[in-house]
């Protein structure tokens, strides 16, 4: 798992509000660092790292939720509910995290099933064992999990491309900068 990026430019003696504008954009950039790899379904490590970066962004957004809860004034004077937009952005982040979580879960399950299938008979005998002449149950689960993984990955990529086309990153950074 990739380490969290060091946050630069934090000002401990300035307001929580001001520091939200320094910290949150860096968390967004950490997520997008993994974008070049995600169109290859086999890049498990990078997809996992993106999930972790999205989770860090989510938790950091939750830490700074209070900053965006008070209504602000637009230049024309119309009130904008920051809380509502914040909740919408957060919902997208949570959704992406969950889909990437499903993909990761499938990768872990596939690894466990494959490792167990290839375990020497002497090892499996200790804990109940695989039937000597067949691994039907394991093979079936492997196939099912591969299908689930494929569907989750396609779902993720479709959502990601839709978000990219709608300028999600630009909108998110703009919101955090207000």
């Amino acid at each position: 798992m990739a380490k969290a990026h060091k946050i630069n430019g934090v000002k401990p003696l300035c307001s929580y509000h001001e520091n939200a504008r320094i910290i949150l954009p860096q968390k967004v950039e950490e997520v997008y660092r993994w974008e070049p790899f995600i169109r290859d379904a086999a890049r498990r490590e990078e997809l996992h790292n993106m999930r972790i970066s999205i989770k860090r962004l989510r938790y950091t957004m939750e830490i700074f939720r209070g900053v965006y809860q008070h209504p602000k004034k637009r230049s024309k004077g119309a009130p904008v509910t920051g809380a509502k937009r914040f909740a919408q952005f957060l919902a997208v982040i949570v959704d992406l995290q969950e889909i990437l979580g499903d993909i990761h879960d499938c990768d872990v399950v596939l690894r466990v099933l494959t490792d167990y299938t290839h375990q020497p008979a002497s090892d499996t005998e200790v804990s109940g064992s695989i039937s000597a002449d067949g691994k039907d149950g394991l093979a079936k689960l492997i196939d099912q999990t591969k299908e689930t993984r494929k569907a989750s990955y396609e779902n993720f990529l479709e959502k990601w491309e839709q978000l990219s086309a709608s300028g999600f990153k630009r909108k998110l950074l703009s919101f955090f900068g207000t």
């Binding site: 946050i7 938790y59 830490i63 399950v109 149950g137």
Partner: protein, 164 residues
Amino acid sequence: MAAEARIAAISPDKTLETCARQIIVIYFQQMMSYKDGAKEGRDIEFVHQMRVTSRRLRAAMDNFVDCFPEKAFNKYYKKVKSITRTLGSVRDLDVLIARFEKEFVTLTEAEQADIRGLIEHLQQEHENARKPMLRLFEKLEEADFEIEFLEFFVGRVCNPDEGR
């Protein structure tokens, strides 16, 4: 009040350093509130919630590292990291066992025989994974980690809501 509500109620006009102390303490207290349940091991939710909160705590600490003296901060950060890691080993197996038990009922009798062996194997690994977690909790208790942590981040053991 739940941690999320307490954090959302923090005034955005206070200094980051003041807020950082409050947030870290709120998450720390929430994380430790699950410890007894995690030790007992009857309900897998305690390990899950403790792990999730430890991750939230680490995310906060990653963001606020510049608000604290580096050496002492790193000491506490590493401890929290070790808590996440040891809980992770147990939680990952909880998830796998639950998943395979769910799949189990959808299989034929012959197929179930293969999966039964796998579940038993994972249950044994789960028992083994709990041991380092319990040892870590014991070590932290012996070292008064909880008191030390709160003394460092609050300055004294107190209610972080004070003075808000």
